[in-house]
């Protein structure tokens, strides 16, 4: 085998020296003379040229490490093969000269870089398979048990390790395997087992609320990958959101890539299969300028770099998948500097018949489909049980996962055929803890008794040399698990083949009541009852997993906040200055350059996308899909999350988030009974008060859920929001993102965001907030509040029902929710989106944020009707719209604001901030 390099450079008609080159490294047994046949593949002769001799001078060359399969390898091998050149491995490198070298990010966890000519001996991953290890837990002292847990990164407590020793004793085993330890560590991890939530008794609170509501739209909640909601004409819609905070802190691009890949898989493999039809993206990075935590400078990611990597990753995964982006947002808050909030989500559609979680039957085959298994992502589940530090941040490269949307996109199509031809009795995706989680959990329900046998020797590998526990735990991406009905196996394999997906039978579902894993290359056919052979990696009854010792969690109530900050009085003298501070804030400034990087119109079903307005740059609060061609039905989506509010009062902020998500839907015209919710909690393991806040948040939103009749049907929690860098631990505030998904019979009846007609009045609905604590303005002024105005819970249900009546009354011409940035920002955005001037004579506070309230546009003739019929909504006239005369006028209390300055500040802020680390 020889490694040849084909170098491609841009043509430079002006005679200038090229400063960037793409290098195809090919490991092949073919002769060098054969490679000329490949030039037409690698080189676009109109704009590029094949470079025989690289220029002299200093350079930086970057390519994937040997252990990482280059995503382009598959296409390269195939294209070369079509020309008769057999390539065994390929890696693509980029070489930069001169100023091009500056700012090139080399991720040492996955890349290798060169500043001199590289000497390559092979491009294939290498490794030596390690034998299985055995441990006699009964012979270990407490200290040794804890030491073993730490050494293997199991994140198991002493009580849990002792329980494992007891299980060894119950099984009458003289020793247990490393697979045994790793399996229990994964299944008892916070990620898979929600140990923190169970210990606090929280999960049952939300589930009980959902059950108590008894909404007839509910098809599936908290039992499968996603929550499923009834739609129209025998269809169902579903959604799922999940965080990927630790992987994103570790390696932002890869973490965000796999975040989106993971939630898309959750949709694809929910029930008996579904199609993703919309994506959701929210990332809260740390502070861009390190004012609150200067000691973190140089110790961890600059927030601006993390954000840029995020935008690239979400575009690089979401666009190839062909799923429209509905709701992208980026925010920045100092307390997310230790670990970001990396939330991703997806909505989908399926048939009602395929909506419910499947269950394998005895004799069904365990079929692994999609990507190959490698050593990436090991311990992803267990690390969610621990915080992240500089040590874990740089220590173990095996945590890094590499996303490959190409494979997942193929599965998105093939999966629908598998569903429609009823080939599978159950399906799931591979996420945290790989085979242990996917196969183990699916096997738990076989025939009502449980039982599965998997042969690890049959798992297709990316690289030789994986030990049993690595194969079992690997979190390699884009893998899918189907329980294929034996009579349908041929049909299923034809579908996989047509979509060019690798599929392998690796085991069988049994009714043994046991989770069994072996390593035996000789066993390729399976029977429901068969003797275990080869290396027996795991053989335990499912009942053993049930008794996970839960941590003892001390719930400490925080002391009341007594010092209340002072804010500058907002007056006609300083309102322009305040407005400039507000619109420049990162969270609310013009982010359209990032939003436009995401395909928001693919599938042809987007009715209201992520941006609107004449300049297509104002963010929509409500995304609307029309998912069935030719039908008026709509799926609506809203999301609320303000880190500034959570910083002030986590419980009041949770109420506000939920009210905001709901009111955004209702004011547009969605019926309350047609809305369901998702919760994504995020707390810090090092914050002594986090569990108090978490418990109170859960109670508050469960209570509000019952009061309003809107159930939570999916959710996820992450309790590792602490990061220690430079000797400083940073804790996220206890926070929860609330996402609402609704349905409407006719999207054309929804109120638009954009202003409709000059002369119309602008009216605030329920502008209850007067304090600036937790607002964007307070953040812009660097003032941390202590007391948050929140929506009055007792009035929530009646308010939303009245809002529902108002939405159906025909009075509303346009509507937007009042949330981040308050009424001032809604006025600004309304002007930016329209061709109108706005004249405001405000009684309510301009900058306070009345989450749950709305700003509506009405015809002047309807004002008395609004005031008489909807008095309980506290309608308050804000101002009116007018034609543009000589220029746009933004007038507040008869003071003309500097529209051009405000607009420029809003337009320019984002680029400056996301490039802060490059310019600082």
């Amino acid at each position: 085998m020889t490694i040849y390099r084909i170098v491609i450079g841009p043509k430079k008609p002006d005679g200038k020296q090229a400063d960037i080159f793409k290098i195809y490294n090919l490991e092949t047994g073919c002769a060098a003379s054969d490679l000329r046949k490949l030039h037409a593949i690698f080189c676009n002769s109109v704009t590029e040229t094949v470079v025989e001799t690289m220029p002299a001078g200093e350079f930086l060359e970057v390519m994937y490490q040997n252990g990482v399969i280059d995503p382009e390898q598959e296409a390269i091998i195939r294209a070369c093969g079509s020309k008769g050149v057999i390539v065994e491995a390929a890696k693509v490198g980029y070489r930069y000269y001169g100023r091009r070298r500056q700012g090139i990010y080399v991720n040492k966890l996955v890349h290798v870089s060169f500043t001199s000519e590289p000497v390559l001996t092979t491009l294939k991953p290498r490794g030596i398979r390690q034998p299985m290890e055995y441990f006699n837990l009964l012979a270990l002292s407490d200290a040794e048990l804890i030491g073993l847990s730490a050494k293997r990164e199991l994140h198991l407590s002493l009580a849990q390790m002792k329980k494992l020793a007891a299980i060894q004793d119950e099984l009458c085993a003289s020793r247990v395997t490393d697979v045994f330890l790793e399996t229990f560590a994964a299944r008892w991890s916070d990620h898979c087992n929600h140990t923190t939530w169970k210990a606090l008794g929280l999960l049952k609170i939300l589930m009980a609320a959902t059950e108590a509501i008894g909404n007839p739209n509910l098809l599936s909640a908290f039992v499968d990958n996603a929550g499923v909601w009834d739609f129209y004409d025998g269809l169902a819609i579903l959604f799922k959101l999940e965080t990927h905070n630790s992987p994103t802190m570790k390696e932002a691009y890869g973490g965000q890539l796999t975040k989106l890949g993971g939630v898309l898989r959750d949709i694809i493999e929910n029930g008996l299969g579904a199609k993703p039809i919309g994506n959701i993206e929210l990332t809260v990075a740390g502070e861009i300028e390190r004012r609150r935590y200067p000691e973190l400078e140089g110790k961890t990611w600059p927030a601006s770099l993390l954000l840029r990597e995020t935008f690239s990753a979400i575009a690089d995964y979401g666009n190839p998948m062909g799923v429209p982006m509905l709701f992208p947002r980026a925010k920045s808050h100092p307390d997310y500097s230790g670990k970001p909030f990396a939330l991703g989500g997806s909505v989908g559609i399926t048939t009602r018949a395929a909506a419910k979680k499947g269950s394998p039957r005895k004799g069904d085959l365990v079929v692994l489909v999609g990507g190959r298994t490698g050593n990436d992502g090991l311990h992803g589940a267990t690390i969610s049980s621990g915080g992240i530090t500089e040590q874990t941040d740089t220590g173990d490269s095996t945590h890094v996962q590499i996303g490959h949307p190409y494979t997942e996109q193929k599965m998105m199509r093939a999966g629908l055929e598998i569903r429609d031809r009823r080939c599978a009795s159950a399906r799931t995706d591979f996420g945290a803890a790989g085979i242990v989680s996917a196969v183990g959990e699916m096997g738990e329900s076989t025939g009502g008794k449980g039982g599965v046998l998997a042969n690890l020797a049959l798992v297709p590998l990316k690289c030789a040399g994986l030990s049993n526990w690595q194969i079992a735990l690997s979190e390699s991406q884009e893998r899918f698990l189907h329980a294929i009905i034996p009579e349908k196996l041929t049909e299923a394999m034809e579908i996989y083949d047509r979509h060019e997906l690798e599929a392998t039978v690796i085991g069988i579902f049994t009714e043994s009541g046991r989770f069994q894993m072996i390593y035996d290359p000789a066993v390729t056919e399976f029977q429901p009852e068969m003797e275990l052979s080869g290396e027996i990696a795991l053989d335990v009854p499912y009942s053993c997993f049930e008794d996970c010792p839960l941590p003892e969690i001390e719930v400490i109530e925080p002391p009341a906040k007594t010092n209340h900050p002072k804010y500058p009085d907002v007056s006609t003298e300083n309102i322009n200055e305040m407005g400039l501070a507000l619109v420049s804030h990162f969270d609310v400034c013009d982010q359209s350059s990032a939003t436009r990087r995401y395909d928001s119109t693919v599938q042809g079903i987007t009715y209201q996308g992520p941006l609107y307005g004449k300049n297509y740059n104002v963010p929509s609060s409500l995304a609307v899909l029309q998912p069935v061609y030719g039908r008026p039905y709509g799926l609506t989506l809203s999301l609320s999350f303000s880190p500034w509010q959570f910083e002030v009062d986590p419980v009041a902020a949770a109420i506000n988030a939920m009210m905001d998500a709901l009111a955004t839907q209702v004011i547009a015209g969605v019926r309350l009974k047609d809305i369901c919710l998702a919760d994504n909690f995020y707390t810090a393991d090092q914050d002594p008060y986090a569990y108090y806040y978490l418990r109170e948040q859960v109670k508050a939103i469960a209570d509000l859920s019952v009061r309003t009749g809107t159930p939570f049907i999916t959710g996820k929690d992450s309790s590792s929001g602490s990061g220690t860098f430079g000797g400083r631990t940073v804790n996220v505030p206890a926070s929860v993102a609330v996402t609402a998904m609704g349905k409407v019979p006719d999207v054309r009846k929804l109120s638009p965001h954009a202003w409709q007609r000059p002369g119309n009045l602008l009216v605030a609905i329920k502008p209850y907030a007067t304090r600036l604590d937790g607002s964007i303005l307070s953040a812009a002024l660097d003032i941390t509040g202590t007391k948050l105005d929140h929506f009055p819970v007792d009035a929530a249900a009646s308010y939303l029902h009245s809002l529902e009546d108002l939405a159906r009354s025909g009075v509303i011409q346009s509507a937007v929710p009042i949330n981040c940035g308050g009424i001032f920002l809604r006025l600004f955005e309304g002007m930016e989106a329209s061709e109108y001037s706005a004249f405001a004579n405000l009684k309510p506070s301009l900058f306070a944020e009345s989450f749950g309230g709305a700003l509506i546009e009405i015809k002047p003739a309807d004002i008395y009707r609004l005031m008489d019929d909807f008095r309980d909504l506290q309608p308050t006239v804000v101002g009116f719209l007018d034609e543009i005369q000589t220029g746009k006028v933004f007038s507040v209390l008869r003071t003309m604001l500097d529209w051009t300055a405000l607009r420029m500040a809003w337009l320019k802020s984002f680029e400056r901030k996301v490039n802060h680390d490059r310019t600082a």
């Binding site: 593949i41 109109v46 190409y406 693919v602 029309q626």
Partner: protein, 215 residues
């Protein structure tokens, strides 16, 4: 009913992601669209020429690896040649345009390159239909058609003068002014933006109707 409609073959390769809306547009425009799997073509199960009209829809064929559209252009090179010889009208949308470009079905010396912004761009766009011999836009000359754009490699560049069919009548998503070109005989049309979006878009449907009419 579908038996009377003209057969439209819509190519599906791993990575294609706009086939459903493209088929829906052809159906609305009066055609009888059928999905054609590349794998089936390569294995000899079906022929690309068994249709009245052919479309390569958008997506990321081959994962956009090596270069946009190159895998399809390489693997199906001979099949494209036969399609052209049969004078079957061909439409390439977005990644389909990129594949037809790399298969060298347009004017020599013209190709597609990365957007000036160096990133993907998704936005609404207005297009002006220029006077040309393109069968796909016959009768639409001078009209402004609105449909969205979503691509990262869509700027028409080169030393030769392309046969221009569409130009941008609003902000260009890629920095160029050409939005669509056709082959010298006017039967092959490539455009980066998406006339099939959203479902039922009357502006886009005009293009699909023309192609079916000419087939």
């Amino acid at each position: 009913m579908t038996g009377l409609r003209k057969r439209v073959a819509v190519l599906y390769t791993p990575g294609t992601n706009c086939e459903e809306e493209t088929m829906a547009a052809f159906r609305l425009a009066g055609g009888n669209p059928q999905l054609l799997f590349m794998n089936d073509i390569l294995k000899g199960r079906v022929r690309m020429t068994d249709c009245d009209c052919f479309c390569v829809p958008g997506g990321f064929s081959g994962g956009d690896h090596i270069a946009t559209g190159i895998l399809v252009a390489t693997l199906l090179a001979d099949h494209f040649r036969r399609l052209v010889e049969a004078r079957i009208p061909i439409l390439g949308i977005c990644n389909g345009f990129q594949a037809l470009d790399r298969a060298r079905l347009f004017t020599d010396g013209v190709t597609l390159s990365r957007n000036d912004s160096e990133v993907f761009c998704s936005m609404p766009v207005k297009h002006r239909v220029e006077t040309s011999n393109c069968i796909w836009t016959k009768g639409l000359e001078g009209q402004i058609l609105r449909f969205p754009s979503a691509h990262g490699y869509g700027k028409v560049v080169g030393e030769s003068r392309p046969n221009v069919v569409l130009t941008y009548a609003s902000e260009s998503p890629n920095g160029g002014f050409i939005a669509g070109i056709c082959s010298d005989n006017g039967r092959i049309f490539g455009l980066m933006d998406h006339p099939e979006r959203p479902y039922g878009n009357p502006d886009g449907l005009e293009i699909f109707r023309n192609g079916i009419r000419a087939a």
